[in-house]
Symmetry: C2
């Protein structure tokens, strides 16, 4: 499989896929201006935490590459300005700040060692490329580890999008599916629509069809039917945040899929890098805020608002739900597979105690 990179540095330009139009149109955009790239992050042309991190790092690379002078101090000032602009795009995206800090730190190190402007330029570009490369490599490693859980002939149900379009490339749960496919295992995928924002119908279906991996789409109402009909062998999906207790937060609908899997004795796996494990937060600190009600009242469509209900009806629109550890068969990370009891295996994986 050719790895789709939703954001990439090509020569002295950044190009990216405008995911707002997927799957209706495949629009690739490009720019030499970090301000334009910042706008793309802000407007959600680029989305998914790791993808945003990579985009921000490449924004710093653009600032470095196109700074017209050759004076070190002017270049460093330009980088600080770019970091400021890029950091204001998505204030809640942890990956964004992490990537910006990492690139800036590298630039400062090289500058301190009395490097030239060109040496700082190169260092910034290489650091940004490293962030992208490392994310993809980690996903491929997780994929190989998780693929051991998949047998030829399996049909795998997945939820939301955990693929190339949510990461620097390859994906987490979708990376496991890709790895199994690349190993020659004959697998099929059932993708849930994932209302209200339809990441499954829009992004996962598009990615899998692009790779030639067999996929069927179902409405979110059909998970129980599919499982009771014997159509699902395993569930693989992602995690936004994993607590040391093994509770994990993920796209709304994950929790009920876990209950349905348990009811039908279908193994239920979540796939996420160890950076997703949050050793500081406890279950009672996870506040589920409500998102924009219009997401529930409309169906996603890039050209107009298409209401599916009375426009002023009240709605619930929780940002995510929480799945308890007793419903999770195993957690796949780049460091291996964690099994219950998670309060032991996850601590061990992080090297705590």
């Amino acid at each position: 499989l050719e790895i789709l990179k939703p954001v990439d540095l090509v020569g002295d330009e950044v190009k990216w896929l405008d995911t707002r139009f997927v799957p209706w149109e495949e629009i690739w955009r490009k720019t030499k201006d970090y301000r334009r790239l910042a706008q793309a992050i802000k407007d959600m042309e680029i989305r998914g935490a790791p993808a945003i991190g990579v985009a921000a790092a490449f924004g710093m690379a653009l600032a470095a590459l196109h700074y017209p002078g050759n004076d070190l101090e002017g270049l460093m000032e330009e980088l600080r300005k770019a970091k400021e602009v890029l950091s204001k795009t998505r204030p809640t995206a942890v990956n964004l700040f992490w990537a910006l800090d990492r690139v800036m730190k590298k630039a400062e190190e090289v500058a301190k060692e009395k490097g030239s402007a060109d040496e700082v330029r190169n260092a910034v570009v290489e650091e940004a490329k490293a962030i992208q490369r490392e994310d993809i490599e980690m996903n491929m490693k997780m994929g190989k580890i998780g693929a051991k859980l998949i047998e030829s002939g399996d049909t795998i149900l997945t939820h939301c999008n955990t693929g190339s379009l949510a990461t620097a490339g390859y994906g987490t749960a979708l990376g496991v599916i890709r790895a199994a496919w690349e190993e020659g295992k004959e697998i099929k995928v059932i993708a849930t629509e994932t209302r209200p924002v339809d990441q499954g119908a829009r992004l996962t279906v598009w990615e899998l069809k692009r790779d030639g991996i067999p996929v069927k789409l179902i409405s979110d109402t059909m998970v129980g039917y599919a499982m009771s009909s014997g159509l699902v062998d395993k569930v693989f999906l992602g995690a936004d945040r994993i607590l040391l207790s093994g509770h994990f937060a993920n796209k709304i609908g994950t929790y009920q899929i876990a209950i349905l899997a348990k009811h039908h004795n279908v193994p239920f796996y979540t796939v996420a890098p160890t950076s997703t494990i949050d050793p500081k937060t406890t279950l009672d600190q996870l506040i589920i805020e409500q998102r924009n009600p219009d997401e529930v009242r409309t169906c996603p469509y890039p050209y107009q608002k298409v209401y599916v209900t009375v426009p002023d009806v009240e709605v619930l629109n929780p940002a995510f739900d929480v799945t308890p550890p007793e419903l999770v068969t195993a957690i796949v990370t780049e460091k291996g597979i964690a099994y219950p009891p998670y309060w032991v295996s996850l601590r061990k994986m992080l090297g705590l105690d």
Copy 2:
């Protein structure tokens, strides 16, 4: 509450709500021509089994009222012709044939007793009105019976549309909710969107807002979250067909709501007239056929096809799912409430053995 009648005979005209445009527009249509009414059934302007039955009966009334002559034989010939045309509109709708046969039989009885053309005319109109009235009365009776299960302060989750727009008026599960509201109980409703055809988002929300009953819409992914957050006290929904074993077929998504209710100890009730109980069919005879895949690939919108995914993706689109009796707290009918074991209580209710 004023009862909304989706199809009605007013003077010598039939008027009906074109449900294809609900909730975007409230378009009432009317005609004196039974052929136009037949077209409305065929094109699904009118839908829901009891509503179709009433519409067909009113079609016979139109044929009788507007037959220009006063000769008995000519009128009977016109009625036979109308029955033929109306019966070809929705060949799988059992209620349609039942209603047409009932009206025709009445006409023949009166004709046999050497009634005049006018006496046959009146008999046909009265029989059609009786079919409508009896369905509404039965729904109101079921509503009163079921409302005993609801306490003031309850929040009730419902799925699909079981209201006025699916019946002659008032509704089955929504009839129970209406009855509780009319008794002054302070209740709230959570309506599921009900993908793929969105009967919950479109019709149930519209009906409840019209009546002033508090309603919140959720995506089908949010049922587990709502239950685990303590937001749901009871589930009330309908049934397309109930077997003597207590298994019942209903809108896709019903089965998984039942599993989620069981998991969270939320009482789960189905509401349907005893005519829905099918003593002849067994579980292995229930074949779940697949419906038009474009329902899953698009979101409902009356003016154009709005795809939410890659247009040629394969889909599953089961016509219904089957909920086993061990997940059902009780079944509400116009003859009372059946409790487990259903293979005893349902037989007793039908007067079998």
